[in-house]
Amino acid sequence: MSRSARAAVSALLFSTALVFSSPAVQAESFGLGRLATPEEIAAWDIDVRPDGQGLPEGRGGVMTGEEIYQERCASCHGEFGEGSGRWPVLAGGEDTLDTEDPVKTIGSYWPYLSTVFDYVNRAMPFGDAQSLTPDETYAVVAYILYLNDIVEDEEFELSKENFTTVRLPNEVNFIEDARPDTAKVEQAEPCMSDCKAEVEITARARIIDVTPDEDAAD
């Protein structure tokens, strides 16, 4: 057997072995990167899921949360979560989602409480991210629940242990993507000529005229 033929056979054997030995996705290793240590993972792995995976040990109550909220959050989100300027509204908005002016808050819109913990913990306060301790984060989340009347007891304390017992009211109203939800070409071949008799302008942007001035944008 020639050298190249031997190489081909051994390559074939090798690849067959790979196919038989690989469970799900097992591919060639490039030998790059290094193992992450448990300490490194613990420090960076901050995400929290609806089932509670990722929640840190800790607890915090409504009253403590109110103090932290008024100091760290209220300047943007308002004393009662009503929002200041264009900063997000955190509370209220019940029964508005099917109206002309939907108000999407944690109480009216968000499906999962874990999202509040995850987001506050990773991104808030705006410009000073990851500065709250786990206890402080639990407390702020508890206060936001209180602002939304999802908990009514001022003595309520949120903790890793009771976290997943709290459900947000709008969870059931999220549905899967239904697109494509308009006609495809095979259903409606587009018209090319004499498609309509009359055309009228029904709306003009210049009437609203909210286009930024180029000089102002500079």
């Binding site: 490194e40 995400d47 899921r49 943007c76 989602l97 999202t115 109203n173 308009t182 055309v199 210049r206």
Partner: protein, 427 residues
């Protein structure tokens, strides 16, 4: 060349604008059009010989990193200040009406930040892969660049592009109505290589990329997509990513909404369920008329827009004109673009010119003669899946007007007798 709008019998932008102002209010004063070109000087024109043809120009060291001509200084990204609470959590827009071809120059790619631009020191950059993997790993940028590379042209469109137009025509300019898109060539590593290096557990179904900026941007992406065509990109258009586009490393999620293309990547967790992060629950979910909301609406549907003429780029000449625009689909390539000049009574095929890459923008042209009559200009695109770009009213009939995201409806521009263009809706 046909002549219009100038007492000198020669069409200049200034002449046109003067005419436009006389007819229907000053476009220049409302800031809708490009600044006038530099004053034209007969001394530079035949039969005279211009200074630049006589005297030495700057040497090679004058511009170590080249920038556009001073006469193009108006070609910049612009924001709409009233849209957002602060510039650190905001967006600006690509000047589509000033660009051609399919590639967006790096400095003009629209920006969307949630906590400002992270200034990552590349030597301190680390990417962690953890979760449902055999070996949790940490990579440096040098490690990433030792994996096999690939080059791909993809568009990136914000899911909220055209989102201000759900309730009706609002912004005068395709930069503002359609400018949350850019298209560049990425160089990077297939995400598959990185995930396989860590070894995926058999129950792995989702990944969660996380940004290293102060918003820690995180999204859930199905593993199938991650292994299919996602990339970790370190270069755009041949050079390192710009800081505002995620330097030194960003995720590329071809055809899917821009928010998922996490910038300044610091970690990818592998899991068995989605995370339901803030940006896939509170935001980037599509509120329907009945109060329910669609979630995980990832793909960007087929869409097109005429970039010239448009409100910032009026028609300057009677006679011969080039209509130009962009079409794209997050589900494949664009097969066909049709153009109407009469508000949809009659349509013609536009000419797609240049490369037709998967999940990339396509450039189209339609050459026509303009006799000065008002026009109602639209484009409609059909992609390789047979999807037909819908009208805005067809979208509203299905989704209402509260959904903010995924407005890919047909855009109408009204060209007036004086060449001025406005954003309108028609019957």
């Amino acid at each position: 060349m046909s002549e219009t709008g100038s007492s000198k019998g020669r069409t200049t932008r200034r002449g046109f604008l003067t005419g436009a102002a006389a007819v229907g209010g000053s476009l220049a004063a409302t800031g809708l059009v490009r600044p006038a070109m530099a004053e034209s000087d007969p001394e530079n024109q035949p039969p005279n010989v211009a200074d630049w043809s006589k005297y030495l120009g700057e040497g090679v060291d004058a511009r170590p990193y080249g920038t556009p001509s001073e006469y193009e200084s108006h070609v910049v990204r612009r924001n709409v200040a009233w849209l957002t609470a602060s510039p650190e959590s905001s967006v600006n827009f690509t000047p589509l009406h000033e660009l051609d071809g399919i590639i967006t120059p790096n400095g003009l790619c629209f920006e969307r930040h949630h906590s400002g631009i992270a200034e990552v020191v590349p030597s301190d950059f680390r990417l962690m892969i953890n979760g449902l993997v055999d070996k949790p790993l940490i990579f440096t940028m040098e490690d990433i660049k030792r994996f096999p590379r690939t080059n791909k042209v993809y568009f990136l469109e914000c899911a909220a592009n055209s989102g201000m137009e759900w309730r009706g025509a609002q912004l005068n300019g395709c930069q503002f109505t359609h400018g949350m898109i850019h298209c560049v060539m990425y160089t990077g590593v297939p995400l598959k290589h990185i995930l396989e290096e860590a070894g995926l557990k058999t129950n792995a179904k989702w990944i969660m990329p996380e940004g290293g900026d102060a918003s820690g941007m995180n999204r859930s992406i199905p593993l199938e997509k991650a292994l299919d065509d996602c990339m970790l990109a370190f270069a755009m258009n041949g050079e390192a990513l710009r800081p505002e586009q995620g330097y030194p490393l960003r995720l590329v999620v071809p055809g899917w909404e821009g928010n998922m293309w996490v910038k300044w990547l610091r970690r990818i967790e592998v899991g068995d369920e989605p995370w339901h992060a803030r940006e896939e629950t509170s935001k980037y979910t599509d509120l329907m008329e009945d109060g329910r909301a669609r979630r995980f609406t990832w793909a960007m549907d087929c869409k097109s827009v005429v970039t010239n003429p448009s409100p910032q780029a009026p028609l300057l000449h009677k006679g011969r004109n080039v209509l130009s625009g962009l079409a794209w689909s997050g589900r494949g390539t664009v097969d066909r673009v049709d153009i109407t000049l009469d508000g949809g009574k009659n349509w013609r095929h536009a000419r797609i010119d240049g490369p037709s890459f998967d999940k990339s923008v396509h450039r189209f042209y339609y050459e026509f003669d303009w006799n000065g009559e008002p026009l109602l200009v639209q484009s409609r695109a059909i992609d390789s899946t047979g999807y037909l770009q819908p009208t805005k009213n067809e979208l509203r009939a299905v989704r209402g007007t509260n959904s903010i995201y995924h407005n890919n409806g047909i855009q109408t521009w009204h060209v007036r007798e004086n060449g001025e263009v406005e954003n309108v809706e028609i019957s």
